[in-house]
Subunit: 325 residues, 2 copies
């Protein structure tokens, strides 16, 4: 009899769960309504917009869409910290202006020196290390390092409304993927823990990696340089290579997400494009067109005509951070 | 009451299914026993070898492991056919010795000319096409073209014992991935249909691809050349980039799978490495050390000391083909 009881609880629990607000951190209003209407129409077998579960694929940018990205993306903040820490032990590693600037936390100077300089800074912490050791270092840093202005540890600076959206969509049969310009293993250090997204559903920039047998031990080692940059026109390419089909939902926040939204929302049937507009200088950061990190121009200009939802963080979100309020 | 009935049928169906032979096309014997013993020990919560479902990842080579590869891999046979067909319409495309050899089906000459020649032949059918159109062409070819010696259509030349193994492992909570030197979209044309493996669980060589807006339509177009070759030492790299964790089970059949098996079976806990040995010249093809396609040397030499199962197709398989017997 025991098994019957468990089965019947499972059956009757479903309608009850559906009555609860799936997005409690979103204020009532047009943004929240449009999201729920989309999810309901594609999951309703009676709807002409019905989408079978295998095609319910949703992709989310990470920096500025699921977690914060100011004043620097977390990955670059980590890289600067690692250069500084290692230079304390061995100042001879600072063999270039870019690395000296990194040790001083002077990111403006690095950015001015260009993408080669940024790669040089990344290589100090991202190369000549196994993915496992790298992820352990990143996890430790994200969960113990205080963000310079918020005072929270970085890992707490994920957006509660977006983690609710991820969970809601998964509850409705969606597969949720991250599609980010950030590096695969930087994200995988913590994405399962904070977003419940497994490592196989992380799409990102891909650093070079080599396989060899070291002292009898089969070993993967991250190398300097990158195989693939997952940003702008690279995002549709990265998605198609990894997933093999076009998603029906995409969320981003910068012009680096433009092509992803453009491609996703041009498919047949019901589609949803979402841009997070950083309007909340009080609780988070206010930035868009002029920002050195995460600038949004074309998306702001065209969201309306393309039918993309522009989320106004200040007005649409009851709560911002997943970490302690 | 209706819901209760469905739920209770589902509950009681499980023990019944477990009684049936999960691998009917495998003959009773040591090979079959060792596979089942592995699956049972990693799925038994009371076992010291128990592996939680999220870590039950199994990877399978494709050519020669899940479907045949003689006298040519299916992908190369397709490429030669496409060159021949297009040259019938427009002989001017045969602008090199490699392409002329391709149109004549003379693969030995192409192989002698080296990997540049092979890429040149592949480009005729694999580049300047959308992934969608490419997959439609491949699907049509695989399901209508007769193999030169078996007389079956290519799509029927998958190994029934291996499709049973895929299903059995999935039934026991494994995620099953293909990890092949073949191209992503060549495989995705049909892998869901024949193996029940979704496009997101196909890892392979990655051709270049570009995103652009063509006549107002967001479009991905396959380009000539490759971003990544998923073979030999590239297989552990491809797996780690795509899945983000080390599998616990790997099956292959050539020395191009050696590093994958080496890496997978070197992990902690229960591990399983399997090499398909093509011993069955009567029902399939008999080849190993000297074969131009799918040669197996180091694997044959070391399988025993490394504890990998060497599957003897002639002795271990009751039935070979998934297609009509």
């Amino acid at each position: 009899m025991h098994r019957f009881v468990i089965a019947s609880i499972a059956v009757f629990a479903l309608p009850l769960a559906a009555l609860a607000d799936p997005l409690p951190s979103w204020k009532a209003g047009a943004a929240k309504d449009s999201i729920i209407a989309f999810v309901e129409t594609v999951t309703d077998p009676q709807s002409e917009n019905y989408v079978p579960m295998s095609d319910r694929i949703a992709v989310f940018d990470n920096d500025g869409t699921l977690w914060a990205e100011q004043p620097l993306t977390f990955q670059l903040a980590y890289a600067l910290d690692m250069v500084r820490q290692r230079a304390e032990d061995d100042p001879s590693i600072l063999g270039s202006e870019a690395l000296s600037a990194a040790a001083n936390g002077d990111f403006a100077a690095i950015r001015e020196a260009g993408s080669e300089a940024i790669l040089e800074v990344l290589n100090v912490s991202h190369a000549n290390v196994t993915p496992t050791a790298f992820m352990a270092s990143v996890h430790e840093w994200l969960t113990t390092t205080e963000h310079p202005t918020s005072g929270m540890v970085y890992a707490d600076m994920t957006y509660q409304p977006m983690t609710e959206l991820l969970r809601y969509m998964r509850d409705e049969g969606f597969s949720t993927y991250i599609v980010s310009g950030g590096s695969l293993f930087f994200m995988r250090a913590i994405t399962e823990e904070i977003y419940n997204i497994p490592p196989s559903q992380i799409i990102g920039s891909i650093g070079n990696m080599e396989y060899s047998v070291v002292d009898g031990e089969p070993t993967l080692t991250k190398q300097s340089g990158a195989l693939f940059f997952d940003r702008s026109a690279g995002k549709p390419v990265g998605i198609m290579n990894h997933i093999g089909q076009r998603p029906i939902f995409a969320a981003g926040n910068t012009d680096g997400d433009f092509q992803m939204l453009e491609w996703v929302t041009a498919g047949e049937g019901a589609r949803f494009g979402m841009l997070i507009h950083h309007t909340d200088g009080e609780r988070e950061f206010a930035y868009d067109r002029e920002s050195a990190v995460g600038s949004l121009n074309r998306g702001l200009d065209e969201a309306d005509t393309r039918g993309w939802l522009l989320v106004d963080m200040a007005k649409d979100w009851r709560r911002v951070w997943s970490g302690a309020e």
